[in-house]
């Protein structure tokens, strides 16, 4: 925070009970009537307040087209909070929050509205003591980014007064290829300096994802085997059981790989594969992540080692599901992928020769995100073949969601007089026991934005490196063939299974 912070006699590093409270500040949400804002952002703000992590006088400004008064907005937030917040509703917390709630009505091209926003911010600085510190959350489709950002610049909202800060928060997608990502970055960075821009990848706010670093670098027993000498391959899966829902307009033409692999899965891969950072600060982390993303090598034959698919009609979890091409608003000839599986290598000493299989898809068996580090078989087994017939490969599985936790799979003797060894799993149920009080990803990320802590936000270079990895694959898909079909409710197209079978491996059933 500020220099004053260090001088505060009530602060003491040894005093671990005192939480990190954001300094005086406010949050401006553009597109406040949207789903994300209602289901995630507003409840997260309330939960933060409820945990006592927001500064007194925190301000929340909604900006949208709808003709609302401050009270209507407050009512909307109230409903959203009651419905979606994780912590119980408490009147006094609400009373604290409501005093700083404002609504500004307008279009993004409306100069008056932005002037009004500016006035509102000034008014809040006086009434609530927000000290000119404001974060602008752009919860709007990317096509509006340039306009909003330019408006912020035009009305001098992006320039922080002396001693204050202004920050911009943007959501994925960060472009749809390297070129558009660069354009977007240029637009945003023209107004906000790189360290003022916070890109939200909500996966990075999840406790389990942060726990990857704790697991790897706070422990002694995992890191020694976390390399090519012991690891056979790594599978990173993010499966959804839902279809595209009402997002046809956004989804068609983007597809699973751009929607998920580019950001979430490559981030998970970076965290799994990176070297130990020199420290846990943002620069050191980004340096290591960028290094490993830069070392990613694409397969030689893209048609063999990448697979894309589209779900066809089928039954998903007891419900009949239409195929992707039959979804409302989708071009029946669309080549958009709803499933993507790719094999990547990492060219460094630790990982040479170890494939990373990344897959994601909609309408798969169930909703699950996990990282499975699969180990090689024991080099020699004193047990005879029949004894170990049922023994698979050892694995450490980090379950990102749901049911957050870590599973270790290893062989164990089946009780009985004969020697028979079978896989068992040892489970650490991180989620089951801790979720109730652990903060939601958005809570953590919003708090970090207000604190200016950039640890959990991908930087420009990471975004560009990720596109660098994905662009050739997308290009290859564009030019060759059509997506494979897979029945809704299954674990993807057979082509994906064949892709692993060629390497003598198979997908884990997550």
């Amino acid at each position: 925070m500020t220099a004053v912070h260090g001088a505060n006699p009530l602060r003491d590093a040894a005093d671990r009970r005192l939480p990190r409270i954001a300094g005086p500040s406010g949050l401006v949400i553009f597109g406040v009537t949207g789903d994300l804002s209602r289901k995630k952002l507003m409840p997260a703000v309330y939960d933060l307040a409820n945990r006592g992590l927001l500064p007194p006088g925190f301000a929340l400004i909604g900006f949208a087209r709808r003709e609302w008064q401050d009270e209507d907005f407050a009512q909307e937030v109230h409903d959203a909070v009651k419905q979606h917040a994780r912590t119980p509703f408490r009147e006094e917390v609400w009373q604290q929050l409501i005093q700083g709630m404002r609504f500004v009505q307008g279009n993004f091209d409306d100069d008056d509205a932005f002037e009004q926003l500016k006035d509102t911010i000034q008014e809040l600085d006086e009434a609530q003591g927000t000290g000119g510190n404001f974060a602008f959350y752009l919860s709007v489709p990317p096509k509006f980014f340039p306009q909003v950002v330019q408006q912020l610049k035009k009305h001098e909202l992006a320039d922080a007064p002396e001693g204050a800060w202004r920050r911009a928060v943007i959501e994925k997608p960060f472009g749809h290829d390297l070129k558009s990502a660069k354009e977007l970055n240029a637009i945003v960075h023209e107004v906000f300096a790189p360290d003022q821009v916070f890109r939200i990848d909500h996966y990075l706010g999840k406790e389990t994802v942060q726990n990857i670093l704790a697991l790897r670098f706070a422990n002694q027993m995992f890191e020694p085997i976390w390399n090519r000498s012991y690891v056979d391959h790594v599978q990173i899966t993010m499966a959804e059981d839902i279809g595209i829902g009402g997002r046809a307009g956004y989804y068609d033409g983007i597809g699973a790989a751009r929607d998920v692999i580019q950001n979430h899965l490559l981030q998970l891969m970076a965290l799994t594969a990176m070297e130990e950072p020199a420290s846990f600060d943002a620069d050191a982390l980004v340096a290591e992540k960028a290094k490993v993303l830069g070392a990613v090598r694409l397969p030689k034959d893209l048609s063999k080692d990448t697979v894309r698919g589209q779900y066809s009609a089928g039954w998903q979890g007891g419900e009949k599901a239409v195929g992707y091409l039959q979804e409302e608003g989708i071009d029946p000839k669309s080549k958009t992928d709803t499933y993507a599986a790719i094999k990547l290598g990492v060219d460094n000493r630790r990982w040479a020769g170890v494939p990373f299989y990344l897959r994601t898809g909609k309408r798969l068996g169930r909703r699950v995100t996990e990282i499975a580090v699969v180990f090689q078989r024991a080099p020699h087994s004193p047990f005879d073949h029949t004894a170990t017939e049922e023994l698979g490969q050892n694995a450490i599985v980090i379950r990102v969601q749901p049911d957050e936790g870590i599973t270790v799979r290893f062989g164990s003797k089946v009780p009985g007089t004969s020697m028979e060894i079978r896989d068992v799993s040892m489970d650490f149920a991180y989620g089951e026991s801790f979720t109730e009080s652990s903060p939601e990803a958005y809570e953590r990320l919003i708090l970090d934005v207000l604190l200016g802590d950039a640890n959990l936000f991908p930087r420009t270079e990471e975004v560009e490196l990720s596109w660098n990895i994905l662009d050739p694959i997308e290009q290859h898909w564009d030019e060759n063939g059509t997506p494979a079909q897979y029945q809704a409710g299954t674990w993807g197209p057979v082509e994906a299974d064949e892709m692993l079978a060629r390497d003598g491996r198979s997908w884990r059933r997550p």
């Binding site: 925070m1 500020t2 004053v4 912070h5 001088a7 505060n8 006699p9 009530l10 602060r11 003491d12 040894a14 005093d15 671990r16 009970r17 005192l18 939480p19 409270i21 300094g23 005086p24 307040a49 409820n50 006592g52 500064p55 007194p56 006088g57 408490r90 009147e91 006094e92 917390v93 009373q95 604290q96 005093q99 006086e126 009434a127 609530q128 003591g129 000290g131 040892m426 489970d427 650490f428 149920a429 089951e432 026991s433 801790f434 109730e436 009080s437």
Partner: protein
């Protein structure tokens, strides 16, 4: 599920635990600590409920040690251990064993508890009432890394605080200290916002609430300035005022839930500062199991160095205005007292100016406390406070 064992032993209880776990088909146990609650029958229910709520955040094995009173000499010589084993849905997210000790085994409770501790996991002992004066030397306390007492529940809380300070060993902690975490964090946050030097402070709260003393001692220890205590009807803590060289910082909570933070030169702000229930306190307590050095430092500052608590004059609503005269030890209080302690004080602070203030305040806010705080909103009051500041600083010199 629930298994009742009468006249039993620790090893039978262990067997029942395994059996219970098997019966409900729950696999590996992910419990992170053993919580030993030492209590009497009256307080067992509430304590256990708090623990099982806290166990959602900290899956644990909870051992409730209930010492039964023996009412006849025969009872005292015989000895019996009854146990109730709860696993699964009946026990929050962990396992619970309720141990009832009769007769001689009362004095050897540790022999029952020791075999039931989770391997390798930390042990926390909690006495909701009747905590031993030296928890670390208590046979059960000696098994624990962390010993949680609650002076709030004591007959003579302030007296007990002093005893705790003398007996302190690393790992001791007290729920009256846990209760003030939100206050401490809000006060720290308030100081983050200004670059001022604190010259004095005042803590106001109900009588027989050791949180008042702990907060005052913490402030005194961290800030190195005199800190006063003032009594109020409560509930709990009702206010803290820090005098700084750029005006007072006041955190005022009259109703036990919503507080007002006023900082010189900044608008008043509402702050949710609800009094927390025991489960939340226990959950916070279990979050960190290393010794709490800040608590130790605050506790060791010593209640006697704070001076006697001040009872505000009932007729004049003067506590906001006058008592933070702080700094000046004996001189504070009524004008007559001020006069007795020295000419400087009397002329600088007591007498006319004090009376003037009190009446001004009375005019402005006839409704008493609450409206007085609201009155702080108006710039008039702020200016008044600013005008008073120099006078106050002059007093101690």
């Amino acid at each position: 599920m629930k298994i009742d064992l009468t006249d039993t032993t620790a090893s039978k209880i262990n067997k029942a635990l395994v059996q219970g776990r098997r019966a409900i088909g729950s696999p590996a146990v992910g419990m992170v600590l053993t919580l030993v609650i030492v209590t009497d029958e009256e307080n067992a229910y509430d304590a256990l409920r708090a623990a099982s709520e806290a166990s959602r955040e900290h899956p644990s094995r909870t051992l409730v040690v209930i010492k039964r009173v023996s009412r006849s000499p025969r009872d005292r010589t015989s000895s019996r251990l009854d146990a109730e084993v709860r696993v699964g849905a009946d026990a929050g997210t962990g396992e619970t064993v309720i141990l009832r000790l009769y007769g001689e085994v009362l004095n050897h409770a540790q022999s029952v508890v020791l075999p039931l501790l989770l391997p390798d996991a930390p042990v926390v002992a909690w006495w909701p009432v009747n905590a031993p004066l030296d928890p670390a030397k208590d046979p059960l306390g000696a098994l624990a890394q962390r010993r949680v007492t609650d002076t709030y529940a004591a007959e003579q809380p302030i007296h007990e605080l002093t005893a705790r300070a003398e007996a302190y060993s690393p790992g001791d902690t007290d729920l009256s200290w846990t209760r003030i975490t939100p206050w401490r964090s809000m006060l720290a946050a308030a100081l983050d916002q200004v670059a001022c030097e604190v010259t004095g402070a005042q803590v106001e709260g109900e009588e027989f609430n050791p949180s008042v003393e702990l907060l005052a001692m913490w402030l005194a220890e961290r800030l190195g300035v005199p800190v006063k205590r003032t009594l109020s009807p409560g509930p709990g803590l009702t206010g803290v005022r820090m005098e700084t060289n750029c005006g007072p910082i006041v955190l005022d909570r009259a109703d036990g839930s919503l507080a007002t933070l006023s900082i010189q030169g900044q608008p008043n702000r509402a702050v949710a500062l609800k009094r927390r229930e025991t489960p939340e306190l226990i959950a916070e307590e279990l979050r960190r199991l290393d010794p709490d050095d800040t608590y130790a430092a605050a506790l060791r500052f010593g209640v006697d160095r704070l001076g006697e608590p001040v009872v505000p004059e009932p007729s004049v609503d003067a506590r906001d205005e006058e008592s933070p005269g702080s700094g000046s030890g004996p001189s504070r209080g009524s004008a007559a007292e001020g006069g007795a302690s020295g000419e400087d004080d009397a002329s600088g602070k007591g007498g006319a100016p004090g009376g003037g203030d009190a009446s001004a305040k009375g005019d402005a806010s006839g409704k008493g406390d609450a409206s007085g705080k609201d009155g702080g909103n108006t710039s008039g009051t702020a200016k008044k406070a600013a005008a008073k500041a120099p006078a106050k600083k002059a007093a101690p010199k």
